[in-house]
């Protein structure tokens, strides 16, 4: 809901310039465009704020005369006008990041669909994810696995993320609420809280979790950076990490890192409440229920009752041949 509201502002602003009424077209275009960007500015800022009231700055327009009122979105989603002089830039601190990260995005139910018939093991998703979350080449939030049940059944590649289960065994067993489920369905980790007991790893049937056995890759580089629970960066030694559905990107209205990195159109991502998912490669938006139904979608190990939020479309009618991939020899590094 929140997000739709954000979206409306720029759209309604934009239509102005497409109906040019006088010769000073350039000016109009110019100013409405600036308006538009201001609003996007608000959206951007508002979407990265969590605590207290949100004051998003008009960074683009320092020249405006004072006494003017500006529209900003408050945390409880009201559009209010305040004098421009009172607008301050807002940088969320740890507490705000934690609070908003634990609450999640209201009205959303994120869902991922992976079309196995398109996966050629490009491993771009893995690389993008490891880049974003500062992981080593053998530390995975997402991993592409070769799956083959028996030699008569087909071999295929299966990118495997955390399934963000609706009945998550990993969350059940956590003793300190360090891993938890949010209202939008994402299972997150708070590495400021995790005691490193690894019970959640033992409980997760999808082997979706990893542990920082040693000092994380980006420890020096990330020093001093505020911990963002939605990105799980900086990573910390002695704590758990795992796929987060790129909660930080979703907050900004962008598709997850892996989804937009895939060159083969494997990933669809969207909001179950809207019954629509968007393909990360073609950016095509389709109706979720139709996509699942037409392709015979399934979830991994439904018999365990974990109710994953990730759906798979079977590797049917592949237009390429399965090529066995030999992984490089992974060597542990410090």
């Amino acid at each position: 809901m929140t997000w739709q509201f954000f979206k409306q502002i720029p759209m309604s602003e934009k239509k102005k310039k497409e109906v040019p009424e006088d010769s000073k077209l350039d000016d109009i275009v110019e100013s409405s465009r600036r308006d538009f960007l201001k609003k996007v500015g608000i959206v951007g800022a508002a979407s990265v704020t969590g605590a207290a009231a949100i004051y998003a700055g008009y960074r683009h327009e320092k020249e405006k005369p004072s006494g003017e009122m500006v529209k900003v979105l408050t945390e409880d989603n009201r559009l209010v006008e305040i004098p421009k002089e009172q607008v301050k830039d807002y940088k969320p601190d740890l507490k705000a990041l934690q609070t908003r990260g634990r609450v999640g995005l209201k009205g959303k139910k994120w869902v991922m669909v992976l079309d196995l018939s398109k996966c050629r093991n490009a491993r771009k998703c893995v690389a993008a994810c490891q880049g974003a979350h500062h992981l080593r080449p053998y530390e995975y939030h997402i991993n592409t696995l070769v799956m083959q049940e028996s030699h008569n059944t087909p071999a295929y590649y299966m990118p495997k993320t955390c399934q963000h289960c609706d009945n998550p065994p990993c969350v059940s067993v956590c003793p300190v609420d360090a891993t938890f489920k949010r209202q939008d369905g994402i299972v997150l980790i708070d590495n400021e809280r995790c005691i490193g007991c690894r019970f959640c790893m033992a409980a997760c049937p999808y082997s979706a979790r990893m542990f920082h056995w040693q000092k994380p890759k980006g420890e020096e580089a990330d020093k001093g950076q505020e911990y963002n629970i939605e990105l799980n960066v900086p990573q910390k030694k002695g704590t758990i990490s795992k796929c987060l559905f790129s909660a930080d990107r979703l907050r900004e209205g962008m598709l997850p890192y892996c989804v937009s990195a895939c060159p083969n159109g494997v990933f669809y991502f969207g909001d179950e409440n809207e019954n629509a998912v968007t393909n990360g490669t073609t950016k095509e938006t389709v109706i979720l229920s139709e996509l699942l139904e037409k392709n015979g979608a399934y979830r991994l190990m439904p018999e365990l009752g974990t109710k994953p939020r990730v759906y798979y479309l079977p590797p049917k009618n592949r237009i390429f041949e399965f090529k066995q991939w030999t992984p490089p020899e992974y060597i542990e590094t410090t």
Binding site: Q4, N167, R182, E284, T285
Partner: protein, 309 residues
């Protein structure tokens, strides 16, 4: 789905040719120009769109780290890329070819121009030409307007188009139009492409599987398919479709996996009762030890009688 595969299949079969073959843009599209001038703001907006939509294949501009596809996606800084005219770039972004997706249903006309404005910033020799006025070649001198309304009875959206010139207004007939519903990550085409009737109207069916927000509102956009004839006219409206979306939080009910506040009652009770019973017994034992002590203490002070009573 099948047609999608066919497209990919054909494009794969054509690969060797594509590699050698230039991507030819129809002559009438080559000269297309933006209606607004590029500035820092458009470039910023373009950068954002580029990052989400293009970077995964084309890489960071100037870094030469684009994907190894066939044909290779060119680096925006490259000569090969920049020699395209604005119109050619616009066409290629909008229509796509092979592995280059079509962004027709994803990015609006303005979005595409924003991206072009961003990639042009890597070309110091670039001088922008602006198309002065949007004109409709079919209705010269008119301003094209669209109005959308929702019909509850058969859950359909009615689009009315008109060409306004001064005070007179005529319907735009025989124009291909499309309707989109806004979803979080893109525009979802609904129903088929329609052609306006003699009253300038087109009716789109909204499928029941498309919920609005909790109030039942949906955000829709209508566009002419052929923007060269009718201009980049589009209409965005919020309609009340009455198909209310659900916004039930996934953590609302009590469950083992939920936080302590939402733990199942039986588990809380069992734990607390168990713990307190054990503590009560331990307390009782400590009290008894105290009694032992008191008796001994009294005895040592010669209180034999007190104890025996």
């Amino acid at each position: 789905m099948r047609s999608f595969f066919l497209v990919i299949l054909t494009s794969l079969l054509l690969l060797p040719e594509l590699k050698a073959q230039e991507w030819v843009v129809p002559d009438d599209k080559k000269g297309k120009l933006s209606t607004f001038s590029f500035d820092d703001n458009t470039r910023k907006a373009g950068l954002k769109i580029y990052t989400t939509n293009c970077m995964s294949c084309h890489g960071m501009p100037g870094k030469g780290n684009s994907l190894k596809l066939v044909p290779p996606p060119p680096d925006p800084v490259s000569q090969q890329f920049q020699k395209n005219s604005d119109g050619e770039l616009f066409f290629k972004l909008q229509i796509g070819r092979g592995q280059m997706p079509s962004f027709k249903n994803v990015l609006s006309t303005d979005d595409i121009w924003d991206v072009i404005s961003y990639v042009r910033s890597f070309n110091t020799n670039y001088k922008q030409l602006i198309m002065p006025v949007i004109t409709s070649s079919a209705y010269p001198g008119s301003v094209i307007k669209m109005v959308l309304s929702y019909n509850q009875a058969d859950s359909s959206v009615i689009l009315e188009t008109s060409a306004v010139k001064g005070l007179s207004s005529v319907p735009v007939t025989d124009a291909a139009v499309k309707l989109f519903v806004h979803r979080t990550f893109g525009l979802l085409p609904v129903d088929e492409e329609k052609t306006t009737d003699k009253n300038g109207k087109a009716v789109f069916k909204i499928p029941h599987s498309l919920p609005g927000d909790t109030a039942g509102n949906i955000n829709v956009s209508a566009r002419f398919t052929n923007e060269d004839v009718f201009g980049a006219v589009s209409m965005d409206t919020v309609l009340n479709s009455a198909i209310k979306g659900t916004a039930v939080s996934l953590v609302a009910r009590r469950a083992i996996w939920n936080n302590m506040k939402n733990a199942p009652v039986w588990i809380l009770l069992t734990y607390i009762i168990g713990l307190f019973t054990a503590l009560a017994f331990i307390g009782l034992v400590l009290m008894k030890l105290r009694d032992v002590f008191i008796i001994g203490d009294t005895l040592s002070k010669g209180g034999e009688n007190e104890v025996n009573n």
